[in-house]
Subunit: 337 residues, 2 copies
C-alpha cells in the first residue's frame, strides 16, 4: 500500500540499501548481475525516488518559481502569460523540474513569496516578469542570492540575468510601416506606465515619429483592460486632430478599440488603422482581422527557463536577446483616406 523505498528493494534483493542506491544510479560498486536484479525488482514493485529525500540530500528543490502580479481578470484575458507558462513548462518538464506558480496582489506579497520559497528550499530559482523601473524585487532577490532570470530589459535588471526582446525595434517597424502607408498622426494606447517595457515603447514611439517627421504622437496609458482600452480610444478619436492610426499594447484593448471605431462609426481600415501588440487568435477572429506584432512567446518562456536552469547549476549566464516582435500585416491597416 505505501510507496516502496530502496529499503524494500534491498530486502527483496538480499543486499544493503547502499548497493541498491549504487545500482539505481548507475555508478560502480555492484556487479552487473546484482545491478540487473535490483533494477528488475525496482521496476516490478514500481519504485520511484522520493523527491523530498533527494532534495534533502543535495539541497536542490527541483522546482522553479514564478509569481504573476496582475489581477485575475486581466491575467485571464491576455494569452501572453498562459503561453509563457506553457513554454517554461515545456523546458522544465524535459529536465524533470516543476514549476511553482502563484498569483500575488502586489510587489510586497511577491517579495515575501520569494523569501519563503527560497528560505524553505522550495525553489532553486525564480523568473521575474513585468519589470518596472526601480523594481523593488531586484535588490531583494540579489540580496537573497536567489538565482533569478528577469524577463525584461537588461538596463533595469541590476545584476540579474535578463531575457529580453527589443521592443523598440518592433515599435520602429510599426511606425515605419504606418508612415509608409501615409499616416502622419499616430496614437498609442499603452499599458501600465510603471513597467519598463511600456516606457521603452513610449520613447521609441515618440522618437521614431520625430525621426520620420510625423506629428507628435498622443499616448494614453491604461491598465491593459478592454474597458480602459475603449475609453482611451474614445479620447484619442475625439481630439481635434484625431490620429489616423492607433497602436495598442495588447490585443484585448485593440479589439475594444475596433468596437469603439465601428460604433462611431469609423471605417477600419479606411478611416482608421489599428495595430495590436502580441498577436493571438483573438486578432484573427475579429473583422477586419487585426494587424499585430507577433512573437513566439512559448519560445521566450523556454529560453528564460533554460537560462535559469543554467544559472542554477552554477554556470555563468549572460543576457539573452530573443527575436523582436515582427509586424504581421492584416486587414486593420491601410492607406489613410
Amino acid at each position: 500500500m505505501k510507496r516502496p523505498t530502496i529499503a524494500d528493494i534491498a530486502r527483496h534483493a538480499g543486499v544493503s540499501k547502499v548497493a541498491v542506491s549504487y545500482a539505481l544510479n548507475g555508478r560502480p560498486g555492484v556487479s552487473a548481475s546484482t545491478r540487473a536484479r535490483i533494477l528488475a525488482i525496482a521496476g516490478e514493485i514500481g519504485w520511484r525516488p522520493n523527491s523530498a529525500a533527494r532534495a534533502l540530500n543535495d539541497n536542490r528543490a527541483g522546482a522553479l518559481g514564478l509569481v504573476l502580479r496582475r489581477p485575475a481578470r486581466t491575467l485571464g484575458v491576455e494569452p501572453f502569460f498562459m503561453e509563457l507558462i506553457s513554454g517554461i513548462e515545456d523546458e522544465l518538464s524535459a529536465r524533470s523540474h516543476a514549476l511553482l506558480l502563484q498569483v500575488a496582489r502586489d510587489h510586497d506579497e511577491e517579495i515575501e513569496l520569494y523569501r519563503r520559497w527560497w528560505g524553505e528550499g522550495r525553489i532553486d530559482g525564480a523568473i521575474l516578469v513585468d519589470l518596472s523601473a526601480d523594481d523593488p524585487r531586484v535588490p531583494v532577490v540579489e540580496a537573497l542570492h536567489l538565482p533569478a532570470v528577469v524577463i525584461g530589459h537588461p538596463s533595469a535588471s541590476g545584476s540579474l540575468t535578463a531575457v529580453w526582446s527589443d521592443d523598440r525595434a518592433a515599435i520602429r517597424e510599426t511606425v515605419h510601416h504606418l508612415a509608409a502607408l501615409g499616416h502622419r498622426r499616430l496614437g498609442r494606447v499603452a499599458g501600465l506606465p510603471l513597467l519598463v517595457h511600456t516606457r521603452q515603447r513610449d520613447r521609441a514611439f515618440a522618437e521614431t515619429c520625430a525621426a520620420l517627421g510625423l506629428d507628435e504622437p498622443v499616448v494614453v496609458h491604461t491598465d491593459y483592460t478592454g474597458e480602459e482600452g475603449a475609453r482611451a480610444t474614445r479620447r484619442l478619436l475625439t481630439t481635434p486632430r484625431r490620429p489616423t492610426a492607433i497602436v495598442y499594447d495588447n490585443d484585448i484593448m485593440a479589439v475594444a478599440g475596433l468596437s469603439v471605431a465601428q460604433e462611431i462609426p469609423l471605417d477600419v481600415p479606411g478611416e482608421l488603422s489599428l495595430v495590436a501588440w502580441d498577436d493571438s487568435p483573438l486578432c484573427r477572429v475579429v473583422r477586419p482581422p487585426l494587424t499585430a506584432l507577433s512573437r513566439d512567446i512559448p519560445a521566450y518562456g523556454m529560453q528564460a527557463a533554460r537560462t535559469l536552469l543554467a544559472l542554477v547549476s552554477g554556470e555563468h549566464a549572460t543576457h539573452v536577446e530573443a527575436p523582436a516582435a515582427r509586424l504581421t500585416s492584416r486587414g486593420s491597416t491601410a492607406r489613410p483616406a
Copy 2:
C-alpha cells in the same frame, strides 16, 4: 551564507534541537522563557523550515497537482483556465500549499505525470479538469489511491469527488430566454464532443428545445478555436432554414461568430442573436456586447482546492455543486426580425 537550521538555533540558545522544535511548533515541553528566546533567535537569523525535511517526516508534499491538456494556443485564449488557476492558488496560498502545474499533450502523458508526481511524493492530491466520457484518468487515479477532485459532473467521476456546476440548468435558462424573445430555430456551436460537459449541454439543449416546441436545433462541434467557431457559424448560417440565434461554448468562438455575421452582413441582434458561454472581458469589449453565461470561475477553483485539501487530510468529502452559470443579457440578443 547557507540557510540556518534548527541545529543552528539550538547552538545559539544552548539547548538541544528537540527543544527548538518544540518551541517553534508551539507545543509543550519548553518553558515560556526558553520558548521566547528560541523564537527570538529564529526570527533574528531568519530561519524557515526546510520543506523537504518536513515532507520527508510526515510524508506530505505540501503541493497539489494540476495538468492541463489542451494545446497552448487554445489554453491561452480562454480565460477559463487562468481564472481557475488563480482561484485554486488563492485557496492554496492561504493554507501555504503550492500548485504544481504542467501542460500535457494527451491523456497518456497526463496519466504518466500523476504516476510520477504521486510516486515521487511531489503532490498530495490532484485536480482533474476537462472530464471526458469513460475518462481513462479516473480508473488510474483510483488505482493509485491518489486523492483527487474532478472538475466535472459526478456521473463520470467514478469514485472520485466531483466539483461541478449544473450546465443543463444554464442551457435551459438560455433556451427559455431565447424562446421567450420569440426565437424558434436555434443553433449551437459546441466544444469537443468527447467532453462530458459538451454532451450534457448538447442533450439539455435538444431537450429544452423539444420541450418548448421549438425546431430541432442544429449543433456543430469544434475544438474551441476561433477558426472553427467561425467555420461552424458559416455552416449554420448557410443552412436552408438558418437559425435566428446561436449559442457558443466559449467566448472566443462567439466573437468569431459575431465577426462572421457582420461580414455577411447580418445585423446582430436584429437578424441574429448570439450567446457566449463563460463571460469574460472579451464579451464586453465587442459591439454589440455579448450576452453570456457567467459564473464565478475563481470561486469554482477555490472550491475544488478546498475540497481536495479536505480529502488529503483524511476527511470524507462529498460532491460539491457550485452555482450554475447565469445568463447575463447584453446587446447581442433580441427579438428576431
